[in-house]
Amino acid sequence: MIELIRVSKRFGAETAVDDISLRVEKGELCVLVGTSGCGKSTTLRMINRLIEHSDGEIHLDGQPVRTFREETLRRRIGYAIQSTGLFPHWTVARNIGLVPRLLEWPVTRIQARVEELMNLLGLPQEEFADKYPSQLSGGQAQRVGVARALAADPEILLMDEPFGALDPITRETLQEELRALQARLHKTIVFVTHDMDEALRLADRLVVMHQGRIVQQGRPIDLLRAPADAFVESLLGGEDRGLKEAALLPVSERMRPLRASQGHAQERIAQHASLREALSVMLWRHAERLIVIDEDDRPVGELSLRRLVRARDDE
């Protein structure tokens, strides 16, 4: 659990972070989003004390971060950044084993852990262990960066635009992987990005920052439905919000039981797909009705265009 209580950061006369309070629960993925210079990275870096806060208190599981020795604190917190920050003179395996080595784990335990992580992130040991970062693609390098952050099995993970430098397809793949990873590992994650789509896709809790302050925070769907002001609304994409919301809702939420009588709708959609995907299929196939299927391809319901676009109030 991470708690920021009325935290400010001033650089000289400039206030980068202005009196913010934030609570990230254990196992929660909290995304800080905002335009560049809004103080989101500064906020992140104050948590592991790469930047010292000027006012207020930052607690880790109820303990002020200032009571830890800097190095001890950071070794307890995973850290992944944009452009990976991998050490170019070390092999992949050595990069991943960095924090365990700093913590003076026995060699065999480090080796086992590195192997485990490489498997977890889809980097076959034989192929990648002895490669150098310059020999990796952007996506592979970022996987190594995440593996390195996870190496000592930290409770908390800080990620500063980790996928910012990747092409859209690789970025989406890694976002999916991070979600899958989080579903298994339940880390407490603070994730910084300026990409609202990424934020909506990943966040359990979305925190919008502007000019050093938190403008709004909450579940992504709540922010979409009730943006606090014009700034949040524009950040969320204005007229595009309908699609963004649809992307967050699963088909199962709007479907209704299958009625055998109208059996001739042939287009199918998986029940865990998003309403946005369902809409896309309808547009593409010129279909007003879709059969919803489960993991075993069995029909479990149907979704009509009318139900899809129906206002939330009718639910």
Partner: protein, 388 residues
């Protein structure tokens, strides 16, 4: 893979044309009855007759033919011919020595004319061109040179005793060896001392950025003083010091000799050393440093395990530049009695004995080339991430 076949290789064609012109147009050797009088020059046909001289042209013409429509095999054949010609060069000089030097006059000596020097230069260029065209490793390139060097060694032992350069060496064997030792020692100590000081200064500049501009100002200023002037400037203060401080005098410090030479060499070496070390340490990717600190490395660990290893190739580059520069500068130090190979150069200039100048200059040249190659290769090896 470099494209091998196709259009005529202009480089090889022009090099071989230059070789032909040098062979026919420039004196091959000069012969003098003794050390004092200047010798008379001989062209290649005058050394061994037109027939043999024309025969020697065959490989050059052959290389031109091979270069006209190059293929991999043809270039390999050309490479063999170039190595053959390099190997034959000392034999040619031996032949000239046997023909032109009267064995009954012990003072007679033979100088190498401009022809063979130009030929050597041109053939080495051709060797490099062929090595890169064929994609051979640098090491193999050096290996190929072993054959001509072996031939030179054998010829020096057996037939080339009248060679003026060789005679100068024979006459000064001990002086040469001690001069070589002095030269290496001066360069080694100067580079070592400036490395230690240079790293400390660079670290201080990183610590106190205010010192950086002043520091580079002083070093830049030092670099602009002409070397002879710097030696002269050091003369008075050092002479005074050695007369005032007994233990310094006992160490051998005086206004002339090794002390001012070493001081000046260190002074000149500091700028490249400090600049490269500073730039190397500052130039490390900041995101790597950020990650290192964020992972929980202490300042010492970041420096030793990340910053220094990543900066090392550039620091080594500084050592390379400094060493090559110091090898050359040490020659000038002979002027103030510091010894070294420069002694022969200045003696030779004084006596108008060009071969004596060469005896000093050639080893300096080879030393600089050797250091350059070895440290350059080492730097390549230390590049982060090994060889991709």
């Amino acid at each position: 893979m470099a494209r091998v076949t196709g259009r005529p290789n202009i480089v090889l064609l022009s090099l071989m044309l230059a070789a032909l012109l040098a062979w026919w147009g420039l004196p091959s050797v000069s012969v003098a009855p003794n050390r004092i009088v200047s010798g008379s020059a001989y062209l290649a046909p005058e050394v061994a007759g037109v027939g043999l001289a024309a025969l020697a042209c065959l490989p050059m013409v052959a290389v031109m033919g091979l270069a006209w429509r190059p293929s991999r095999t043809r270039l390999a054949m050309a490479l063999a011919l170039v190595v053959l010609m390099l190997t034959a060069l000392p034999l040619w000089l031996s032949l000239a020595a046997l023909r032109l030097i009267d064995p009954t006059s012990p003072g007679a000596r033979m100088g190498i004319g401009p022809g063979p020097w130009v030929l050597l230069f041109v053939l080495l260029l051709a060797l490099i061109e062929l090595r890169t065209r064929l994609g051979l490793s640098r090491r193999l390139g050096w290996g190929l040179l072993a054959v001509p060097l072996g031939s030179l060694g054998v010829c020096l032992m057996r037939w080339l005793s009248p060679l003026a350069l060789w005679q100068e060496y024979q006459g000064r064997r001990e002086a040469f060896e001690s001069a070589l030792g002095e030269h290496l020692l001066l360069v080694g100590v100067a580079v070592g001392v400036s490395l230690v000081i240079g790293v400390l200064v660079a670290l201080a500049m990183r610590r106190w950025p205010a010192a950086q501009r002043a520091g580079f100002g002083v070093l830049n200023f030092l670099q602009t003083i002409p070397s002879i002037a710097l030696f002269g400037l050091l003369l008075a203060p050092l002479a005074w010091l050695s007369s005032e401080v007994a233990w310094l005098a006992a160490l051998g410090v005086s206004g002339i000799g090794w002390a001012p030479a070493l001081l000046a060499l260190v002074g000149y070496s500091l700028l490249p050393m400090v600049r490269n070390t500073y730039v190397a340490l500052e130039g490390v990717d900041p995101t790597v440093i950020d990650a290192a600190r964020g992972m929980g490395m202490s300042h010492g660990q970041v420096f030793r395990q990340v910053r220094l290893p990543l900066a090392l190739p550039v620091i080594l580059e500084g050592i390379r530049i400094t060493t090559v520069q110091a090898i050359g500068l040490t020659a000038v130090a002979a002027l103030i009695g510091a010894g070294g190979l420069g002694t022969f150069i200045f003696q030779g200039l004084g006596q108008a004995a060009m071969d004596l100048v060469l005896l000093g200059a050639l080893p300096i040249l080879f030393m600089a080339l050797g250091v350059d190659a070895v440290l350059g290769a080492l730097g390549e090896r230390l590049r982060p991430g090994g060889t991709p």
